[in-house]
Symmetry: C2
Subunit: 216 residues, 2 copies
């Protein structure tokens, strides 16, 4: 483990901002994008279940179709890579078994050794309290991935804009998610800031750390 | 902007895991923790509103009191820094004005220039559709902060364990959040892995990127 310095991290986080105007001519190089996809896949999630899928919208026609359902925010069409985060609409026994089969294979252990873990997840996410709010639970996991992606982009020098201002039902329709078991929950535009984005130079607005963080 | 290399980032993300056993004797140095607090405060949030507070539980007696309400997960008492993320229970006009007053001061602009922004937030988070799910909306913002914090910890070589397995109502009681307007939503233990944590050596389980990420 070869950590970066605190200054390097904080510089990156100070440098990042919710990019309002992307330079449509600047694309994220393929190797950098591949690393960001890898980073996204490495996001932590509850029980490790990864109850989401990430849609990268390359098709210009689709992006244009999404624009009016995105409060007409131009980042949708101007950014280099536009990611729609989707979350599982419910959690089923099959979801758990798919994950446990993968775990068993990757770690080379019999699935039977995972039966207590399976029981815990069943009693929580399928039949338990969180089963009733499974889509919301999945949404929260997608937000962890969003937080991870934005920080990863920042340390790699890639600009990003998180986007909650869109109409999920319309996105689901345009992206054909109807019966997929996934629904769109949040989006993130990535690429490079335009030299004309006046928001790039604004001072960040944050409550004092003493207000935000309390020691108990 | 001085980005880190993709390899350095991916090494950190591969190195991190949900730490099950912390070394109770190893504390995060003060300067490193200060940087993590700063990083946490720099988390992106919807409209920039930061509808959360982070409680850092140093008091050993409080941690012991939280343990039985945390599925008895020992990370709560053994980790170096234990953070409880709380989210605003509702959004009020006063929340918006507090934020706009701060914005006006930090950016040295009259609050009147922010009236359209204020109207948009009012129509969304106070009187609009998201007003009805304001605590859930705040929770999602806290999850962005959680994702950010875990990635920041990883690149700085600090171990972490996100924790959803706790009883929010009991946490709120123990932490005296009753009438504060904030409620606990998720936690994160930070510190250093014990040499005895057998989970540290396990292969990460992730669906293939081709399953998780779809190009449209």
């Amino acid at each position: 483990m070869n950590p970066i310095t605190t200054q390097q991290l904080l510089n990156a986080l100070e440098w990042r901002y919710a990019t309002k105007v992307f330079d449509p001519g600047k694309k994220i190089p393929a190797d950098l994008w591949q690393a960001l996809e890898h980073a996204l896949a490495l996001s932590p999630s509850s029980y490790g279940l990864q109850p989401y899928r990430f849609l990268v919208i390359h098709d210009a026609a689709k992006r244009a179709e999404l624009l009016p359902h995105s409060w007409n925010q131009k980042q949708v069409v101007d950014c280099s890579h536009y990611v729609v985060f989707t979350g599982r609409t419910q959690m089923t026994e099959a979801d758990l078994d798919r994950f446990l089969t993968l775990t068993s294979r990757v770690r080379n252990i019999p699935t039977e050794t995972l039966s207590a873990y399976r029981g815990m997840m069943m009693g929580d996410l399928v039949n338990g309290p969180r089963g009733k709010i499974a889509h919301e639970w999945a949404t929260r996991q997608a937000y962890i991935a969003l937080g991870n992606l934005m920080t990863c982009a920042a340390v790699l020098g890639v600009d990003a804009c998180p986007m909650e201002g869109f109409v999920p039902a319309e996105y689901d329709r345009v992206l054909g998610l109807g019966n997929s078991g996934y629904a769109s929950v949040v989006c993130c535009a990535l690429g490079y800031r335009s030299a004309n984005d006046k928001y790039a130079g604004l001072t960040k607005v944050r409550y004092p750390t003493t207000d935000l963080i309390k020691v108990v």
